[in-house]
Each structure stands twice: as C-alpha cells, then as structure tokens.
Amino acid sequence: MILDSKIPEGPLAEKWSKHKFNLKLVNPANKRKYTVIVIGTGLAGASAAASLAELGYNVKAFCFQDSPRRAHSIAAQGGVNAAKNYRNDGDSVYRLFYDTIKGGDYRAREANVYRLAEVSVDIIDQCVAQGVPFAREYGGLLDNRSFGGAQVSRTFYARGQTGQQLLLGAYSALNRQINEGKVKMYNRHEMLDIVKVDGKAQGVITRNLITGEIESHAGHAVLLCTGGYGNVFYLSTNAMGSNTTAIWRAHKKGAFFGNPCYTQIHPTCIPVSGDHQSKLTLMSESLRNDGRVWVPKTREMAEKVRKGQLKAADIKEEDRDYFLERKYPSFGNLVPRDVASRNAKEAFDDGRGVGSSGKAVYLDFADAIKRLGKHAVEAKYGNLFDMYYQITDENPYEMPMRIYPAVHYTMGGLWVDYNLQTTVPGLYALGECNFSDHGANRLGASALMQGLADGYFVIPYTLGDYLATIGPKPVDDKHPAFAEAKKGVEETVNKLLALNGTKTVDEYHRELGNIMWEYCGMARNEAGLTKAIGLIQELKADFWKNAKVLGVNEEFNMSLEKAHRVIDFIELGELMVRDALNRAESCGGHFREESQTEEGEAKRNDDEFAYVAAWEYKGDNVPQELHKEHLVYENVKLTQRSYK
Amino acid sequence: MSNFSKAFSSTLGKKLIMGLTGLFLSLFLVVHLIGNLQLFKDDGGKAFNEYSFFMTHFTPIKIVSYLLYASIILHAVYALILTTANKKARPVGYAVTKGEANSTWSSRNMGILGTILLIFIVVHMSNFWAQYHWGKLPYARYEMNLNDATDVQVTELPFDGKHLVHSQYVDTQKGTEVVVAKDLYKIVSESFKQWWYVVLYVVSMIAMGFHLYHGFQSGFQTLGFDHSKYKPLIDFLGLWVFSIIIPAIFAAMPLYFFFLK
C-alpha cells in the first residue's frame, strides 16, 4: 500500500484555501441524514462534535469519564499559541510555521504545520467569543507571553489553567448542541472496537462502564479524538484513565500507526516518592526562566545528600555542577525540553542524582530570590511553589526544588493524511491521537492549538468531502459486521474475566512502564531496544497466564476496565520499541545513543530517516510492517539544532 | 404559570420570601423595641398603655400589622416547605460530619432556633396580643398634672365589660390630663413576675440573637444584595444590633420586672 498524504498542490500559503475550495460540500438538507461518531471529548473531540453538530450533522459523542469536561486536555497549564502578532514583535503565520517545523526537528509535514499556524489565529477569536477568560492587560486587550523559549510572545493563557478554560469553552459549545438535540452524549462509555463495512469505518462497539453493556453504534464516519498514550510508561503526567485502547483497536482494524516512538519528556516534574506513585505532576516550564539546575559535582557528595547527611544549602558553590549552564552557555537553563531532560538523566545515571531515590536534580531559586526578592518570585511562581510544597512537604523558598523528567506528550499516533483521515476510509484521528503536526518534538503551547485546530477548523471541511462522496445512504447497526465486532469484544472480555492468576493488572502495567522507561525513554540504543522487545513479549505472555481480573462484565468493574487498557498498552509498547529500533537516528525528543555528535549531542540523519514511519498491523504476535511516507521540504532548509 | 409564580416556586424565589419576611420582621423588632422601652418608664404604665392603644388603632399601623402577621406565618410556612425539600435533597445523611469546620453553628441550626422563636411568638401573642384584643383586661385611669409631668395619679379600674372605653381629655379646672386606657402594663408586669415566664423570655431572646446572627445578613444575601463596600456594615449591624443589643434589651424587660419591680 502506498501512503497518500493528499497534500494539495500549489504554494504553501495557498494550499489550505485551495484545498477547502476543492473539497466537496454536503447539501444542507442532506446533513441531517448523516451521523458522525466522535470518540473522546477533549479539545479535539468536543470542538469537532460541536462544530459538526452546528453544521447540521447528527453526532454521537463518547467519553469514558463521568463528564466530557474531565478529558485530560483540562490539565494543560501553559497556554495556546497563535500567530496574532498582537505584540508587534515580528510574529507571523510563517514564523509560527517555521518554529513548529524546526521545533519538531524536521519530522513533520510542511503543509500540515502551515495550516495549523494559519488557523491558529481563528482559534483565539473562537474561544474569546465563547467566553473563555484569557488573561488581559489593563487596557482590556489580550495579554501574551513568551513560552517554551520562543523568540516572540504569541502564547495566550488563562493563569495556569489554559487547558481547563479552553476545554470548558469547547464543552459549552458541545452542551449547546446536546441541548439542541444534535449531539447525543454518552458518558462513562469506552470504545472497544471500530466496525468496518465494505472497508469503511461505519460504527463502533462500546462498553457502558456502569452496566457493562456492550453496545453497537452506527455512523457514517468515526472520529477518534482520544489523546495521547503516554501512560504506556505507567508513570506520566497523563490522567489515570488516559489510554490507547481506541486508537490501538483501530490500528488492529487497519489504521496505520505513525511514529509511535515519538514521546516528549518534560523536565520539570515533581520526583517520584516511592513505589506507590501513581502519576507524575508537571510544573510549568516557566520555572526554568529563573531557576538554576544543578547536581553535586561528585558522586560521594550526592550519596551523602541522598542519605540525608548533607543538605543542598550546605553544598558550596564550587561543589555544584550547573550542568546546563556549563554545557550550553548560550541557552543555559532554557534549553529545549528534550535537552534538559536528557542531561538530567545523564546526571543521575552518573550517580549524582539527589533526593531519596537519587532520581532528581535540583532546581534552585536561591539566586532568583536574592536578585528579585522573595516577593517577586512569589508573584511569579507562587502557585507552583505551593503545589510543590503541598506534594513534597518541602519549602522551595528555603531549599531547592527537586525535579524529575516525566513523559508528557506523545507526538506519535495514528497516521493521517492532510484530511486527518487514517488509512481506514471514514476513520479520522484528531488532536494528540494522530501523529501529524509536531514532528519529533512538540513546542510548548502547541498541543492545545492543534487539538482545537483539528476540531474547529479542519475536520468540518475535510469530513464533508468524505460524506459527500459516500452519500447519505442510511447506516445500520444491524449489519452483520456489528455482530461480528461485538462478538470479538465479548470474547476479549470473557478471556480477561477468566484470568485468575496471582498478579494484578496494575503490576503488569508498572512492569511495562519500567521496561519502556528504561529502554525506550530519553536515550535509547539498539541492544536495549532489542532486549525490550523480548521483555515485552514475555510480559504479554505472562499477562495472559498469571494476571488476575475480578468480577463480572455486567457491573461497574474497575479491574476489567484497566485490563482492557493494559493489554493494549503492552502491545503498543512493543510497537514503540520496534519503531525506536528502526529509527537509528537522534531527533527531537528521541536520542539514539548510536547517533550522536562528538560532543555527545543528538545527531539527526536526514538522508535515511526524513520519513514518517507508518506501521501496518499484520496480526496477533506478528511484527507490524513498516511503510514510509517521505517528507518533502520545499520551503524550509533543514538545519541541525544547536544550543551551545 | 406566570413568570411571577414561576419565580416564587423556584428555590431562589422561596428563599426570597424567607428573606423578605425575615428582614421585615427584623425591622419590626426595632419598632417593637422602641415602643416597649415605655415599659421602663416609671409612670404606672401610662406611656406604655397609650402606645399600645395607638399601635392597635391607627389605621396605617394596623395595615402594617396585618403584613406582620402574614410575614410570621409565611416565614414559618416557607421554612417548613424549604426544610422538607432540603431534607429530600439528601435522604441518606453522612455518618460523620464536621459542620463546625465550614460554617457557623447558627447557620446550621436556623430551623431549631426558628422553632423556639415560633413557640415563643405563640405564647407571647396569646398572652398579650390576644388578651389585649379579646381578653377581659382591666383599665387604668391616669390623671397627670399638666404643670408637673411627673405627678401622675393612677387608679385601677377592674374589667366591667360595658362602660369602659379608651378616652383621653383635659380637665381644665383641675389642670390635669386624664387618660383611661386598657391596662396592658399590668398584665405585662404580672406575667414577668413568674419565673418560668422570665426563663422562656430570656431563652427565646438568646435564640433570637443566634437566629439573627445568621439571619440578618443572610436575608440580604438571599435578596442578592452583596457588595464588598456595604457587606461589612450589614455584618456589623447583624452582629451588634440584631443579635446582641436588641435581644439583650428585650431580655432585660422581664428581668427588670422580675428583679426590680
């Protein structure tokens, strides 16, 4: 199969407008004859469901949470980028496009990224019109800040909870359509399979998480908006429920998986406090604007710190290694996320980590407090300091914070074309669950932008084209394909419930996480990755022998819910490792030890790896087949990143 | 349903009735207190009895008094309706609750406090108000020297059912003013000689203090009145005037008669 990205012809800046014109339209009177299924109600899902319902389509929306407003988009802190150039500081659609392509280390499609930058300006207008309370200046106009090391101030924000405010905007638009009867909302429902009729996605099988009922839902198209799969690492900044099940089951039904190994690891999280740790909490990256990252110079000293014999404050200036400032004099503590994370890992791999686990580095505000005064530091970071104090019981005004890198975002996801359609006709993937716009590394404040761009401004056009092509012929969940898919799901459920071994599902998940973190985390090498494949395969086999899943299907069954998610994580984990093994280059958030410069920095290999790795499912326990979509750069010149 | 009746059948509207009647009753307390201060006057009850007559016979005040009775009834009836509905909103309670961690005691016990007050009002009104209107009250005749206001002669006139009516005239020959009035003052002073009556009054006034400590400011909130500039004033009045000073003076009346008269 040849991957057709369907990128329109013509100059970059005109591609999207031209494409929109060329897309077929659905007759207004016919729109109500179509039903669209939307899985997930985060930024992408809620905005898509609302926008499509506004156009006149019938929408069935699903989420596993108890309310659509709880989707994990809600937890985004920093902000949302838009090329408004309100600050007169030289921003433009082209600059946002360029920064995103470069930030993604030249592993994203030019056309997609340009479109993203182009519609970014509309997102802000849309959100403001919905009543999203963005930060404002005294003059009453919107405030902006520079974020994630960007040279221009293009980030719009709502204190530390931009994600929640944007999601509430999309959720309110969704609520309006629910009220008008155009959207039927299914809370506490998990999608467990997609249904294909004549090769086209035409419905889904879901499980009602309260009653256990396995339901069939038919629609003319299925939109997956289910977010990232960072929980494959067990510990991540994702919500406990964030999972890969929907996209993984779609992958098994024929949707190619793009760049599964692209994971973003965020440097400023609160460290793990013990085996009981269930998730990691992110602190805004802005902390690195004033905090200085360091570890003790010697292992002996670090050892003493770990044992509690030595306090951070008692370590003399000359005994501290401000490794980011030392290695990257021009960027210092503000190097990109991947560089900061990797160097922290190097430090604690070297035995110089601090904290009781030894898996943390210091982020020190002593200098900032001396320079700006405690009051100014408090005004800037007060809420973050409070949060840190709440969790760790340590006062960051008095002793340096301890930070730890954590999996935060997955750039990989289902492969989609320019229309956001997967390799299964009628099946679309929006937001974090697709692979499309961030290449090998995502810029700060771009995730919210992408989710909303896909949902509000891309899918309403591109989906119309598909629907007009297939025509408004009714779809029916009585088709034998539904019964077949339902039977498959029921079999999986029964197989899981029959497991009565000794280990809990969580234990498997934790083990998987350890393997992934160890071998497929910030730095990877061939030997480790090869070993990981074996380990994961063993884990999978062991799961089906020794796992313990309690209860019955016809109840609110936490144990079964988790089991479904974990079996998919295990299989996805293996694919991620395969993808990482295949990509023998360092790029973006992905450092391949065999591919580094003499100074030990990441070395990209554009000649061999300037492609999207799209993996095709070939059957249970059979390795996926790799397809390559070569990336063509007509507008930007590929350069090596340097932060020295 | 009209917009009005819809408004009053909503939870907000029902509470609006509570708030309006409650604040009206609070306002009444001020008037009632000022009037009752006459009890402390050492004139054999002349001023108090004149005041009682005025309050029951001046038309505008009569109209207001009907409003007052209606308010008491509405306040009590709606309290019952709301409490029932609120109980229905949580049929299964908590095994452990720590209300003191998040709210004042009075705010959580308005119902109990209100019930005490309702019992009090029933006793109070049947004893004084009903007696005054329909009871067999004695009369008192006051003869006051026009040249010396402190020189008052009091003559008690027992109830005779026929001849006594309220009257007031000036005897130019004697140079006195004569007032014949129903002697509510006597009833009051006799009632307040009974210890259980004093206890009921004092306890009820304490209950009223707590009821108004929450109720006064809450009434304003229920109306939607909440302003950062004026809220402190309302809270201040609610605490000092309505939950301390007014109940204290009211409570002082039975104590005054019990101990000092």
Binding site: R69, Q130, R136, Y171, N179, N187, H276 | L12, V92
Partner: protein, 252 residues
C-alpha cells in the same frame, strides 16, 4: 503509618450499602490519599475481593473527577485542594478515617464511593454557553474587557465541577456551582445577549434536578477546592430576580 479505614461499600445504585472496615498498614506519609486507596485496592484484588470503587482521573486537582467525603469533610481536612492533592501526612498514625460518597438525591451512588454527577452536565446543557457557531467570529481584540472584570470572570471560571459544594452543603444545594457558571458569562460582554435567558434556564434545571436551596451557611465556599466565592450566588440571585421581575424574556 497504620490506619483504619471505614469505607462505604455499595454494590450498585439499588444496593442498600454499608460501612466496611479495612486496615491500611505501612502507609507512607508521602502517598496521596488516592495512592493510599490504590495500595488498599491492590491488597483487596490480590485477595480476590472487589476493590473499592472511587472516581479519579487527572490526580492533579483540575479534572474534578475525584470526590470522597473524608472524616466529615469533602476532599478531606485541608483547604483549597482536591482529594487527589491530599497527602497522608495530613493524618496521624493509628487514625480511623471514615470515607463516604457525596450524598445528595441529585448525585445517586453508582458504586461504593462513585456517584453520578451528570446533573451538573444537564444544568450546563440548559444554557451554560454563549450561542456562537464555529467560524465567522470578529477578531478577539475587538471586545476589550476591563482586567478586573476579566479576572473576576476567571475566578468564577476556575470551578472544576467536582460537586464538593453540594456535598458540603447541609441542604445539598448546588448554588455555588451553578452560580459560578452563570457568573462567568454574566460578567463578560460575550455573555450579555443571553444573560437573562441563561440564568432562568439554569436555575430551573438546578431545581428540577432536586438540589436543595441555599441558606447561606457558606460551607461550600470553605470547602471548594478552587475557593469559588459566595458572591457568585448573590450575582445569580440578582440576575434571576432581575430576569423574572423586570425583564421581558420568558423561558418555558
């Protein structure tokens, strides 16, 4: 630390339910309250007993999914945090902790400690939005909004819809939640065209869901993990009375 837990267990909405006592031994002070429950659940699962169901998701205090009435207070003994942000160092060794679900007619128990809060969704569906379609919107900076107004609207908008206000209120009133949602849009210019329709529709739905009435005890404000202020409730009342008594708009 070693603890005794008295946990409400209830198989489903129709089950009567009751308290079951569990021992939680060797609990670390650094665990969050939910991690402590994870540990207990892991033990129960190993023994083949049904784990304790409770709602949770983001575990960083923003999704609003976690609940729990802990020792007589929603989200436990500390202020301005959710249960997932509560740490075991807030408890004493040997303590007995009583854990109950949110209690309200409008929040029926689904299982154990998990309740159905879809009433909150329905209230917002009744009118908690600005009716604008996607696209065709004027530039964001065409509507200047005074910073104080924007900040105040933001304060109302921080509500995470967890339901602690209902759980804390002795009347199970949802006024704080509903009023925060109404306030946010009533304060902003974008919300003006539908301001009086919205307040009527949302209050009507709130009443229809069977929440109690607000008696201004202020418990909700104290227990709200986002410290939403009572002022919102008074704003809601003003708008509601204004709509009902002085405006032409009538909703059915």
């Amino acid at each position: 630390m070693n603890l005794t837990l008295k946990v409400w267990r209830q198989k489903n909405a129709n089950d009567k339910g009751g308290f079951v006592t569990y021992k939680a031994d060797s609990i670390s002070q650094d665990m969050s309250f939910l991690e402590m429950l994870d540990v207990v659940n892991e033990g129960l699962t190993k023994k083949g007993e049904d784990p304790i169901h409770f709602d949770h998701d983001c575990r960083e205090g923003i999704c609003g999914m976690c609940s729990l009435y802990i020792n007589g207070r929603p989200h436990g003994p500390k202020r301005a945090i959710t249960t997932c942000q509560l740490h075991m160092r807030s408890f004493k060794d040997g303590e007995t902790i009583t854990i109950e679900p949110w209690r309200a007619t409008a929040f029926p128990v689904i299982k154990d400690l998990a309740v159905d809060r879809s009433a909150f969704d329905r209230i917002q569906q009744a009118g908690g939005y600005v009716s604008v379609n996607t696209g065709g919107i004027p530039d964001a900076n065409e509507i200047p909004i005074p910073k104080t107004i924007a900040d105040e609207a933001f304060n109302s908008a921080t509500c995470i819809q967890c339901g602690a206000c209902v759980a804390a209120c002795k009347n199970a009133s949802a006024s704080l939640f509903v009023s925060a949602k109404i306030s946010q849009l009533a304060l902003l210019p974008q919300g003006q065209p539908e301001r009086y329709r919205r307040v009527q529709a949302m209050v009507a739905q709130m009443d229809a869901e069977g929440f109690g009435s607000c008696t201004n005890t202020g418990a909700c404000e104290i227990e709200c993990p986002k410290e939403i202020s009572l002022t919102n409730i008074n704003r809601m009342r003003r708008d509601y009375f204004n709509a009902k008594f002085f405006k032409e708009e009538e909703i059915d």
